[in-house]
């Protein structure tokens, strides 16, 4: 049985209302599994040393989801989790990960999730990751996710990561190595408040002919929060790479973008775009002429921007 705090957090992070009875999932809470289930095509196996999971997806598996939310609902929990995904050739699945920390105590709670993806030929995965912090304790809510992707020929990986509230500090490190024809799309949405700090770092190697990467970051930094966006794309073949960092700063928020693109091949085509600034005055004016107050206009603009 899950208590209400756990249930709420679970729903926020993964959309699940309770422990399901079917499908592939593992629900982690305070370092323990609250429920695990494999299917014919998707096998979830705890690592022998207890540090995480191996998730095996059979080739050509279609229309299945894997839910692996990680929750921390006590203060003072500090954990490092290693989950490895082995995605068989031609499989097409959605993975819903994400982490929620509810901290009412005075000790910091820290989740470090290190996810590795070995994506087979022609496989197609969508990986959704939502990070949430809540609770009114002084203990900090810290989430440091790492995502390392190896994409085989013509594999397609889409990663959607969202962190909109309550996480005091985050360092997200993502890397990808792409073979011929492989594609990766990473979309990140971050909003920081108060004294929060968020750091994002992407490191992509486009090794294969016809490989492509698209990194899109949208973020809002309010109050005294700070963000650092780093992206590094190496074009090592005929390939296409595009990174885009779009940030709105408010109050005393600070955002830095450090893009790095390196073409090691004459047919590599790489683009970086970064735009940082406060909400455009004419956007506020337009919405105010529709009858919204300045605050309402601001909320609408931010809402849309992070949608």
């Amino acid at each position: 049985m899950l208590n209400d705090i756990v249930k709420n957090l679970l729903q926020e992070v993964s959309g699940m209302m309770n422990i399901p009875t079917t499908g592939a999932f593992n629900i982690r809470n305070n370092g323990k599994s609250e429920g695990r289930h494999s299917t014919e095509n998707i096998d979830i196996v705890p690592k022998a040393d207890g540090t995480g999971l191996d998730i095996y997806v059979k080739p050509f598996t279609k229309n299945e989801d894997v839910h692996i939310p990680a929750l921390i609902t006590q203060d003072g929990v500090k954990e490092v989790v290693y989950n490895d995904f082995h995605i068989g050739e031609g499989a097409e699945i959605t993975i819903i990960a994400g982490c929620g920390i509810h901290n009412c105590g005075c000790d910091d709670s820290v989740h470090e999730g290190i996810h590795r993806f070995f994506v087979g030929k022609n496989a197609k995965i969508v990986y959704l990751e939502k990070h949430i912090g809540e609770g009114d304790g002084n203990g900090k809510r810290i989430i440091n996710p790492q995502t390392h992707i190896e994409a085989e020929e013509n594999a397609y990986v889409e990663m959607d990561t969202v962190q909109l509230k309550g996480v005091d500090s985050t360092k997200r490190i993502s890397s990808a190595v792409l073979k011929d024809g492989a594609t990766i799309v990473i979309k990140e949405k971050i909003m920081t408040h108060g004294e929060q700090y968020a750091e994002t770092s992407f490191d992509v190697n486009l090794d294969g002919t016809g490989s492509s990467a698209k990194l899109i970051s949208r973020s809002v930094a309010r109050d005294n929060s700070r963000q650092l966006f780093r992206s590094k794309i190496n074009g090592n073949a005929e390939c296409y790479g595009h990174s885009e960092c779009d940030a709105i700063i408010m109050d005393n928020g600070v955002v830095a973008a450090e893009p790095e693109i390196t073409a090691n091949h004459v047919d590599a085509s790489l683009i970086h775009e970064a735009a940082i600034g406060k909400i455009a005055g004419d956007q506020l004016t337009k919405l105010m002429t529709l009858g919204l107050t300045e605050k309402e206009a601001e909320a609408q603009i931010i809402n849309g921007f992070l949608k």
């Binding site: 004016t285 337009k286 002429t289 529709l290 009858g291 609408q300 849309g304 921007f305």
Partner: protein, 238 residues
């Protein structure tokens, strides 16, 4: 009824509007015309509360709104379609029309406004109002947005700009329909003779001053007397 009394505005040491006096009666359709740089957009922004005049008074139905901000004026019944519509990342056409109408709208209701400006609603309703839209598309969305407000005074700043000939007739219909249905006042800044044709009154602005107020027939000859006048007219002369 909107009354502007002795409105003056300067910026960078230059007089942009000089003692403007103008009345827009209820249910009247007026067109403001005049050369580029004559102060037309500035005047519209002053009415919408985006620019504060240095002196003068603005009355809406007898109430002094000179000190009111943009939001209050919008709520008092003023709508303004910008000369250069604003783009938003992530805000959809439906979001904008819904915000404008001030109430929950069904997709069908929202689509109705797009259809009226000659846009195939299903292609646009969920589009973001971002740089993927062309200038002409943005202009028409801007018009649909202010139509959804149904206010007693609506200002359009060069609505025809970027709109093709085929859509132009549509636009004329939109203004006429709006005029009939809402029985509100409409003020359009325009150089288009076909828009002047349907006006109750034409106001000629030049170098920040009202040069003439009258019917199209009365005002047009005045235009040609001006140094830069007729060059700004696309519709030919009569």
């Amino acid at each position: 009824m909107l009354e502007l009394k002795n409105i003056c505005f300067s910026a960078d040491g230059k007089e942009i509007l000089k003692n403007i006096n103008l009345t827009i009666d209820d249910a009247k359709f007026i067109v403001i015309t005049g050369p580029n740089g004559s102060g037309k957009s500035t005047l519209a922004k002053i009415i919408a509360g985006i620019i504060t005049p240095d002196s003068g008074q603005i009355l809406l139905d007898g109430q002094d709104i000179t000190e009111l901000g943009i939001t209050e004026r919008a709520r008092a019944g003023i709508s303004f379609a910008f000369q250069q519509p604003v783009r938003f990342k992530g805000v959809t056409v439906k979001d904008l029309i819904t915000l404008a109408s001030g109430q929950e709208l069904s997709t069908a209701d929202a689509c109705q406004y797009l259809a009226e400006v000659g846009m195939c609603a299903k292609d646009y309703i969920d589009r973001e109002v971002n740089s993927s839209l062309s200038g002409g598309e943005l202009k028409r969305i801007e018009i649909a947005t202010v139509m959804a407000r149904k206010t007693k005074l609506t200002l359009f700043d060069e609505p025809e700009a970027g709109i093709d000939l085929w859509s132009f007739q549509n636009l004329i219909n939109v203004f006429e329909k709006m005029h009939e249905e809402i029985q509100g006042s409409i003020m359009i800044i325009s150089h288009q003779e076909r828009i002047l044709d349907i006006a109750d009154q034409v106001v000629l602005l030049s170098a920040g001053e009202v040069k003439q107020i009258g019917t199209k027939e009365e005002v047009l000859p005045g235009l040609f007397g001006m140094e830069t006048g007729c060059r700004y007219f696309m519709g030919g002369n009569k």
